[in-house]
C-alpha cells in the first residue's frame, strides 16, 4: 500500500500528538482534583457545574461606560462573554484598519507594492512576544511616551493595564495577519469587474456586495480566523498589556496550569473554549451547506501559500 506509506507518518503524528492529547484533556475535565490540583478519580461533573453554578437571572441596565443591558450574572459567564466580545471587536477593528491598507497596497504600482509587502512581511514574521513587548515598552508608565510628555510639561498618562490596552495590543499584534491575506485576495481582483457591474446598473455598494465580497472572501476568512483565534486564546497580550487585571479565557486557563493549579477545571474551560472557537469559525465559513469542497480547500491552501511566501 503506497498510499498508506505516505499517510502513515503524518497520520500517526497528528493522531498521537494532537488528537489523543485533546481526548485526554476532554477526559480529565470530568475528573476530580487531588490536593495538589492534579486530576484524580472519581468521575464528576463538578468542573462544569463550577462554571455555570453562579449564573442567575438578574436583569439590569447600567449606563456606566455606555449602555449595558444584562440579563444574567455569573463569574464565568462574564469571563466567557467578555472574551468573545473583546476578540470579536478586536477582529472587527483589525479588519476595518486592514482593509483600506490592503486595498491601497493592491492598487499601488508593482515597484512600490513589493516594498509595501515587504513592510507588512517583517512584522508578520517577527516574534509576537517581541512585538507585544515593544508596544508595552513604549506605553509604560516610565516609558518613552510618558518621558516625552513630562518633558513637555504635561501630565503622564496611564496607558497600560486596562481592557482598552488589551484591545490595542490585540489589534497591534494581529494587524499583519489580517492585512496579508486580504491583500492576497485583493491583488488578483480584477477591477474591471466593478466597472462592469456599474455599467450593468449596480451602484458601488451593490457591486461591492455582489462582486467583490464573494471574490475576496477566502482572504477575508483566512484573516478573520488568523485574528480571532489568537485573540480569544490570548495569553501574552493579556499579561503584558492588561497586567493580568482583565481576565480572558486563555489567560484564565493558563493560570489553572501554572499559578493556581487545577488541571481538571482548566481542561473543562479549554474544552468549552474549543467548542466556542470551532463554532465561531464554522459560522464564518462560506458555503457551509455544501460542506468543505475540494476547490475551496485548494483555494485556501493557495491563499496561505501566497501569504507565506
Amino acid at each position: 500500500m503506497r498510499l498508506a506509506g505516505l499517510m502513515a507518518p503524518g497520520a500517526f503524528w497528528l493522531f498521537v500528538f494532537f488528537f489523543v492529547p485533546l481526548l485526554i484533556m476532554a477526559g480529565i475535565s470530568f475528573l476530580s482534583r487531588d490536593r495538589l490540583g492534579f486530576p484524580t478519580p472519581p468521575l464528576t461533573l463538578q468542573n462544569y457545574w463550577e462554571i455555570v453554578r453562579d449564573i442567575r437571572f438578574a436583569p439590569s441596565i447600567s449606563l456606566a461606560g455606555g449602555l449595558t443591558i444584562r440579563l444574567f450574572e455569573g463569574l464565568y459567564l462574564e469571563l466567557f462573554w467578555r472574551s468573545i466580545w473583546l476578540s470579536l471587536l478586536s477582529t472587527l477593528i483589525t479588519l476595518f484598519i486592514a482593509f483600506p491598507v490592503a486595498l491601497f497596497m493592491a492598487r499601488l504600482p508593482s515597484r512600490y507594492r513589493n516594498l509595501a509587502l515587504f513592510l507588512v512581511m517583517i512584522p508578520f514574521w517577527t516574534n509576537f512576544l517581541v512585538r507585544t513587548y515593544a508596544l508595552q515598552f513604549m506605553l509604560r508608565g516610565n516609558g518613552p511616551i510618558n518621558t516625552l510628555l513630562s518633558a513637555l510639561g504635561l501630565e503622564p498618562i496611564d496607558l497600560l493595564f486596562t481592557p482598552a490596552a488589551i484591545m490595542l495590543g490585540l489589534v497591534y499584534g494581529n494587524l499583519p495577519f489580517m492585512i496579508l491575506p486580504l491583500y492576497t485576495s485583493l491583488e488578483k481582483f480584477d477591477w474591471t469587474m466593478i466597472e462592469a457591474a456599474n455599467d450593468l446598473g449596480a451602484d458601488m455598494l451593490r457591486a461591492f456586495q455582489r462582486v467583490m465580497l464573494p471574490l475576496i472572501s477566502p482572504g477575508l476568512l483566512a484573516g478573520s480566523i488568523l485574528t480571532f483565534v489568537p485573540a480569544i486564546g490570548s495569553y501574552i497580550t493579556v499579561e503584558l498589556m492588561g497586567g493580568g487585571r482583565t481576565n480572558l479565557i486563555g489567560y484564565a486557563i493558563a493560570q489553572q496550569f501554572s499559578a493556581s493549579v487545577n488541571w481538571p477545571f482548566g481542561s473543562a474551560m479549554s474544552l468549552l473554549m474549543m467548542i466556542i472557537v470551532t463554532f465561531r469559525c464554522g459560522a464564518l465559513l462560506p458555503q457551509r451547506s455544501r460542506g468543505i469542497s475540494q476547490r475551496s480547500l485548494r483555494r485556501r491552501g493557495r491563499t496561505w501559500l501566497r501569504m507565506s511566501s
Partner: protein
C-alpha cells in the same frame, strides 16, 4: 451568484471602457493614503523605539543617556541566553526537518490518491490551525504528564512538529496542485523505476516548495512561545520562554538587545524568502 459574476466578467471583455480618471486624487484615495501611512507608523514606531533604546546606556530605559553597546555585550556573555538561543535553534532545526518530511508525504498522499474519508482527513488537517495555541499547549502538557515523559528538548521537538506540520501540508498541497504529472510519466516511460523518478524528477521539481515550507516551519518554531511555555523543561528553555521570564521579572535592558537581534533574524529570513521567490520566477 457565481454565474452572475462570470456573466459580468464576459460582458466587460466584450465592451471595454476606459477607466474614469477622476478617482485618481479623490477624497477616497486621500483617506486610503492617510490610513495606510498611520497603520505603518503604528506597526513600526514601537519597534523603532525598542531598537533605539537597546543602544541606550541607562538601566531604566526610560530616559536617553548615551550610546552604548553594553547590553549587547551582556547578551553575548550571558551563558543562559546563549543556551536558550542554542535550544531554540536545535528545536527549530529538528522540527523543520520532521514537519517538512511528514507534511510533504501527507500532501502527496492527499493530492494524488482518491480514497474514502478523504474529505474528513482534509477537515481534520485544518483543525490544528484553528485550535487556539493555549489549548494545544496544555493538552500536550497533560499528555506528556500522562505518559510520564519528562519535559525537555524531546517534548519541544514533538510538539513543534505537531503544530508546524499542518502549515507545511497546506503549502505543499498548493504546490502539488500545480505539479505537472506528465513529467513523471515521461521518466517512467523512458525506463526509470519509481525511486529514480522520485529522486531525479519529483524531488527537484518540488524543491522550491520544500524550501518555502521549511522556512515557514523554521520561523513558526523559532517564534513559538505559548506551546513551548507549557512543554519546556527546566534546562531546555527556548529563547522566547527565557525572554518571557525576564520581562515578567521586571526591567531588563538586555531584553531590548535580544529583541533587536531577533528582529534582525526575522528580517534576514524574510529577505531570504523573497530572494528565493524571485529566483524561482526568473
Amino acid at each position: 451568484m457565481a454565474s452572475d459574476v462570470i456573466l459580468i466578467g464576459e460582458r466587460s471583455e466584450i465592451k471595454p471602457r476606459p477607466r474614469k480618471e477622476s478617482r485618481g486624487i479623490g477624497l477616497g484615495r486621500f483617506a486610503l493614503v492617510t490610513i495606510t501611512f498611520f497603520t505603518f507608523a503604528f506597526l513600526y514606531v514601537p519597534i523603532a523605539i525598542l531598537i533605539a533604546f537597546s543602544f541606550n546606556s541607562a538601566r531604566t530605559g526610560a530616559t536617553w543617556q548615551s550610546f552604548s553597546l553594553q547590553w549587547y555585550e551582556r547578551v553575548f556573555s550571558n551563558a543562559r541566553i546563549l543556551e536558550a538561543a542554542a535550544n531554540s535553534l536545535i528545536v527549530a532545526t529538528l522540527a523543520t526537518i520532521g514537519s517538512v518530511i511528514i507534511g510533504t508525504l501527507m500532501a502527496m498522499a492527499m493530492e494524488r490518491y482518491q480514497f474514502r474519508a478523504k474529505l474528513a482527513w482534509d477537515a481534520l488537517l485544518y483543525l490544528p490551525v484553528i485550535v487556539p495555541e493555549i489549548v494545544m499547549g496544555i493538552s500536550l502538557l497533560i499528555f506528556f504528564a500522562a505518559i510520564n515523559l519528562s519535559r525537555g528538548i524531546v517534548t519541544l521537538v514533538i510538539s513543534h512538529i505537531a503544530f508546524c506540520m499542518p502549515f507545511v501540508y497546506l503549502t505543499m498541497r498548493a504546490r502539488l496542485a500545480d505539479f505537472d504529472k506528465s513529467l513523471e510519466e515521461a521518466a517512467q516511460d523512458l525506463g526509470a523505476d519509481e525511486w529514480t523518478t522520485f529522486r531525479r524528477i519529483t524531488l527537484p521539481l518540488l524543491m522550491p516548495g520544500i524550501i518555502s515550507s521549511a522556512l515557514l516551519a523554521f520561523t513558526l518554531s523559532l517564534d513559538d512561545f505559548v506551546i513551548s511555555f507549557f512543554v519546556t523543561g527546566v534546562g531546555s528553555q527556548t529563547l522566547p520562554v527565557y525572554i518571557w521570564g525576564q520581562i515578567r521579572r521586571g526591567i531588563t535592558p538586555e531584553i531590548n538587545a535580544i529583541s533587536t537581534l531577533m528582529l534582525l533574524l526575522s528580517i534576514a529570513l524574510v529577505i531570504i524568502t523573497q530572494l528565493i521567490q524571485r529566483r524561482q520566477r526568473a
